[in-house]
Symmetry: C2
Subunit: 234 residues, 2 copies
DNA sequence: TCAATATTTAATGTATACATTATTTTTTAA
DNA sequence: TTAAAAAATAATGTATACATTAAATATTGA
């Protein structure tokens, strides 16, 4: 599960601030840093082999991104995600991702969607089905993510893409941890197929409705798991 | 037009970084700093009477917020807004604000909306109508903003509120500049009244549809002005 | 003259020193 | 012993010094 905004812009060597940002973000997303953990600027700087300055600058960005909370004399807190946080995040994704689907379908109606893009959607959907057949939930989640990201790439709205990725990032750990508790997500493959068809037909309203429904199911799935298994903060 | 996130959290004296952030943000939003203008960190630091460090930290946040672009050896660029930018921003707001309306209506259905909140919506709507009657577009815009913000306050989703405010911020100057070119926004009062009714009835779906329609009109209004008057970048 | 190269300049990126302040510890007095 | 006050501590907030590097300028050789 990448979830790294692989824009890799400028591609030349990254500044220490950028390095610190990338490393810290990765460690948060892959759970090397546990939720609730707190660390001092100084400690982080030592660990990363750099001075406090770039660490601070990276942390400011991570805080804006909603991944950490800077607690002035307590340290950098890796923000845990509560059920309420999750609900907030999904209410945003439930609005934004269907909008992305609509935009893609509308572009498609005007013949502005490349074949390869549609094929990528179909490929990732097939990957999901295959992973499901093999009972490999981790692979399934990766393919699911790939589908959703591909859709975002296609909608030609950088801001929309960025903001959705931001909230995916916040929800990432929770999705990962609840994965084993999910009942087999057999419907999701169907939803994706239906969405791709709506896009091909260029029916924006339909694409929106299908994706909204799809996301809403995802929300309730996740929230039920968090409540039933008493995973109050992840 | 405040548009400042008046959370005023911690309320104790603000750090220089926070001061710099607040001042710079205000100057960008109120157009003291013109779009396209570029300034050096050093210059800004001198102007604000502080060292580069807090200015840098503030700028990092403003860049994340989409208001400036830090161009390594060129300076801090006040980002101009193009028609395409505007379209991106409104496609996001067209998804998020109706979602906020839905959430408020659903809370209302469960009797969780305070009377004063509904009254605030009605008050700001009345203010809009009054401003319109007086041909005072500036007052109208302020009341309109107040209505939209009040709605966001009511939806009990801090993230949703923050992210909508972020994009309002990006669009702020453009809305302000196009104000005199707008045809009298007589419909908007009606839309707001209809929305408040839907909320009172607790009809989330209706509230969503009304607000989506409302925002979509706003989008086309603004984009047409930008195109017709050749305001390519604001 | 002009293009290629070397030099200088000026701005940022980064480290570090210092100032400030919340917290903790120690001291003191009842 | 314990609560209040004082001192010490430790972390951040901020300024500044230095390193790096892109851009601008000057130099050189054809």
């Amino acid at each position: 599960m990448s979830l790294t905004n692989t824009t890799n812009e400028s591609s030349c060597k990254a500044s220490r601030t950028q390095q610190a940002y990338a490393i810290l973000r990765e460690r948060i997303l892959d759970n090397s840093f546990k939720a609730g953990e707190q660390m001092l600027e100084t400690t982080l700087a030592e660990n990363l082999g750099m001075s406090r300055t770039p660490v601070r600058e990276a942390c400011i960005q991570l805080e804006r991104e909603g991944l950490i909370k800077i607690n002035p004399r307590k340290g950098i807190l890796i923000k845990p995600i509560s059920a309420h946080d999750m609900s907030e995040i999904y209410d945003i994704l439930c609005a934004l991702e269907p909008q992305a689907a609509r935009l893609v379908a509308e572009k498609s109606a005007q013949g502005q969607i490349a074949c390869e893009s549609l094929e990528r959607l179909e490929k990732t959907t097939a990957d999901m089905a295959a992973a499901l057949a093999n009972d490999n939930l981790h692979e399934w989640a990766m393919a699911d993510e790939a589908f959703h990201f591909a859709l975002l790439e296609m909608c030609d709205n950088q801001r929309l893409k960025d903001v959705v990725l931001q909230f995916w990032g916040q929800a990432h750990r929770a999705r990962f941890f609840t994965l084993p508790y999910r009942k087999k997500p057999v419907d999701s493959t169907k939803d994706h197929i239906a969405l791709v068809n709506a896009i091909k037909q260029g029916d924006g309203e339909l694409a929106f409705r299908i994706h909204a429904e799809h996301r809403l199911k995802g929300k309730y799935n996740l929230l039920n798991i968090i409540k039933n298994f008493d995973l109050e903060s992840l």
